[in-house]
Symmetry: C2
Subunit: 114 residues, 2 copies
Amino acid sequence: MSQERVYTEPEVLERLKELAGWDLRDGWLRRKYRTPGWSHTLMLANAIAYLAEAAYHHPDLSLGYAEITVKLQTHRVHGITDNDFELAKKIHEVVTWKPPPGGALPGYPKKWIE
Amino acid sequence: MSQERVYTEPEVLERLKELAGWDLRDGWLRRKYRTPGWSHTLMLANAIAYLAEAAYHHPDLSLGYAEITVKLQTHRVHGITDNDFELAKKIHEVVTWKPPPGGALPGYPKKWIE
């Protein structure tokens, strides 16, 4: 919690250029992830929950059959802070991870979460 | 699946030097993670499950109240291959992640999973 700087909307939009697929809506950083179906949706929710608990900063999640919308905001300041950017980046890195081509691991045989 | 090389026991032990806390027991790569309690144990199981599905290589898990034992082996060759090392490394990296000191995220306020 070294930073409590609240970013302005233009600043948020600038920083979002580094976060593929994330946008700003109604004061929240937001990203929709599409999954192969319900069981993977639940696995994704749990993976995000694990990272949120490690970070101790918790997003709102909305689950559909084959999608999750993640929403991040720093509640105590009603705005977007480095907490939100840092957790968005970590979530995105982990949940879109796929084994690198040329490695041993086969990877999920259909379209993975993105 | 570019590699189906099965590692000998001395080779496995050599490579395990790069994987903190993992050992070889009864032909499995094995690591015990300790958690703050049952709800975190379940979150950890789900986080590992998510990575395993992305990799499409699945460990055996044994859950206790505040611990999980992860076991990896390449079933079709009854031995340890690069699949096991690569997934062990990824699991370890993600499940022991903590926000870096000096960043905005506070991190879990008690002892995190290790």
